[in-house]
């Protein structure tokens, strides 16, 4: 796969596994559907909050977390459909400039959970350009596994906000289902940060 081949797409599971292995301490918020499965398949972690709904909420949720935890790196890992539902959140991120937030969109150009209908990113919308136009200057498109290392360095640098559109293949992968109990996930996440229960 050539880095400059516009048709190139990377395996999403391999990409996410490599990214998360390089960011073991980052706080991770995953958008519903495949990004949650990808993150879980890479290894469950206390510092991951998986969404199973609230479509469009991954980026603003990660923003609230990033503002609350300025000394931690935060990753919002989501898909093109979820990101499209909350495009305005990219403008909100740009306005508030959280240096510790990296938004990673796994873009397969389809709604994978509902029967692989084409999404807007396959029909002309350029997500990284949207992010840049919103004011996130560090917005890139990547197509290779090696790019996971570069994104991990941006996460660690906390010089964001940063946005990465990762062109992934639309293969049908086995589902890897993380816990669905939101209260459990919330309590586990807060406990990992040393936050006392209510």
């Amino acid at each position: 796969m050539s880095a400059d081949d516009p048709a190139a797409r990377v395996d999403r599971r391999a990409f996410v596994a490599r990214l998360l292995a390089a960011c073991p301490d980052a706080l991770l918020v995953t958008g519903l559907g495949s990004p949650s499965y990808d993150a879980f398949a890479a290894g469950d972690r206390d510092r991951t909050f998986y969404l199973w709904g609230a479509m469009g909420g991954a980026v603003p949720l990660a923003l609230g977390l990033a503002l609350a935890r300025p000394d931690d790196a935060v990753i919002a890992l989501t898909g093109d459909g979820e990101a499209l539902m909350g495009l305005g959140a990219l403008a909100t991120v740009a306005v508030h400039r959280p240096v510790n937030l990296t938004v990673v969109v796994l873009d397969n150009a389809h709604y994978g959970e509902t029967g692989m209908q084409p999404s807007h990113t396959g029909l002309g919308t350029r997500l990284a350009e949207v992010a840049r136009a919103c004011g996130i200057a560090d917005a890139t498109e990547v197509r290779t596994l090696d790019a996971a290392d570069a994104i991990a360095r941006r996460v660690a640098a906390r010089a964001g906000p940063a946005f990465a559109q990762v062109h992934v293949r639309s293969d049908a992968l086995p589902r890897a289902l993380p816990p669905r109990d939101g209260a459990f996930l919330k309590n586990r996440f807060r406990a990992a940060l040393g936050i006392a229960p209510l």
Partner: protein, 176 residues
Amino acid sequence: MSVADPAPWQERIFELLEAADVRQVAYVPDAGHAHVIRRVQAAPRMRGVVLTTEEEGVALATGAWLGGQRAVLLMQSSGVGNCVNMFSLLASADVPFVALVTMRGEHAEFNPWQVPMGRAAADALSAMGLAVHRVDRPEDVGETVGAALDAAFRGGQRVAVLLSQRLIGRKEWVTG
């Protein structure tokens, strides 16, 4: 009511947010919230977070809570409708939450387009599992907002306070 001369209840809301250690104040602007927004912008320990749509504030408050901070959402009644599906996040993850909602579509409303969502706001909030408290008199604002902050951040509840249009006063659309 002018920029230079806010109503005492508006200053009281700011004081309560500050005293409750609310650190993130998300908002889509409304004239009724303008004083609090200005005060938050000038407060060193608080961050005003302007949103493109109110539902971002529901997710933002959840993220803040995950990270150990308290957040509230300021919006107009029209914004309640924008939040409906995102409210499921609060129930699913059992997250404390406070929304302060300035009402439109009721007392002396000039704009008929504000009426449908104004009428539906309380029911929509209730349907999504939030406790709804309405304030009609200036002298009740402090007690009601203070109780909402306690119910959320001490009691773990999800609460909306509706600030009636009569509190805010008539909007001057035309002169003469």
